[in-house]
């Protein structure tokens, strides 16, 4: 359930970052709402594949972690500092970029012309394989899971939690013009980033947080 709620709580940020990738496509195609929902399912399937592959990766991190608390704190603290760095970076230095997955769009563009049926799937995979801030938080949490099955389950529930925010995507065209949402999302990412920076730094400095 933790993964689901983590997804649910950070899903608004996910939607603010990634909806601009999906929504213009859906609007551009000019399809009916039903067809848009089918397209959304393809997109979500791609995201799921991306997430599950990360579940395996996160489990790999877990197995390589030493079991004594001081060393674990050191590594988890470092992960938090890395995450906070990315959050702050996205917040202040990537203000003009709509979605962290924008780099993957070039590949998507090629696919769109050659294999249109795979386009949405690859777009979903690109957002699923991306180091967007909420996703990195999920990686850090999943790294604490004991088994591969738990890690997969965590990512599956995280996927479901974040997907809740993408379900209304076919209707999100109405919000496209509401640019403050992106700015607010980025600013909030910066604030949360600063908080994680403190947690990570104190964990690194000797685990005396709390």
């Amino acid at each position: 359930m933790k993964g689901f709620f983590l997804g649910l709580s950070s899903g608004a940020v996910c939607a603010a970052y990634c909806a601009p990738v999906l929504v213009p496509y859906l609007l551009g195609e000019g399809r009916s709402v039903l067809q848009n929902f089918l397209a959304l399912l393809q997109f979500l399937l791609g995201r799921l594949l991306g997430y599950l592959s990360f579940a395996v990766f996160a489990w790999g991190i877990h197995t390589s972690l030493p079991q004594d608390i001081a060393h674990r704190n050191l590594l988890i603290g470092a992960a938090y500092v890395f995450l906070s760095g990315l959050l702050i970076f996205y917040s202040f230095f990537k203000a003009g970029r709509a979605c962290p997955s924008a780099g993957g769009q070039e590949i998507d563009h090629r696919l769109r012309n050659s294999r249109p049926s795979l386009f949405l799937l690859s777009m979903g995979l690109a957002t699923g394989l991306n180091f967007c801030p909420p996703f990195l938080l999920a990686v850090a949490t999943a790294a604490e899971q004991a088994s591969l099955l738990q890690s997969v389950l965590f990512f599956l529930t995280f996927f479901l939690g974040t997907s809740v925010f993408l379900i209304p995507a076919p209707f999100l065209g109405l919000l496209r013009g509401f640019s403050p949402l992106h700015v607010i999302g980025k600013m909030a990412a910066g604030l949360i980033g600063a908080y994680y920076l403190f947690i990570g730094a104190t964990m690194l400095a000797g685990g005396f947080y709390r």
């Binding site: 359930m1 933790k2 709620f5 004991a146």
Partner: protein
Amino acid sequence: MKRALKIAGYTWAVACIVVVLATFVGNNYFSAKLASSTGITISPWFSGGEIVGSIDHATYKTVIHRPVFDGLIGERKEGFIQIEWQPVTALPLVIEDGIDFTGDGKEDFAFRLDTAAGRGTLTPRNPSVIAIQTLVKVNQGWVARIQLRKVS
């Protein structure tokens, strides 16, 4: 339609003045009603959770709260248990208690409180018992919070 809207608007505006008066005149009533109708309480992370048991010593007693792991939904991995010793006037210089909060008949931790020095010593007997989180003297006695971690 315009006239109806206008009447509704002005009625609403006058009602706002009534609301201001009602807010203050009926504050005690509304507060009590709000509390009773919602059944809202203070989060156990602050209140310490409900009392589930006590150990009676001759002159004082040890009060045991339930372990708190409450999350937004479900439970967290990290939590605590609150123990109290009261009344403050009847406490001996050194208190030694064995606490079984799991109810399995086995002691989960032992706690030694030196009331004169204000120092506590925790001896975990269960891997979920981690450390002393807080030890504070309050006007009724002493309160300790012991950090717990769920063992999977």
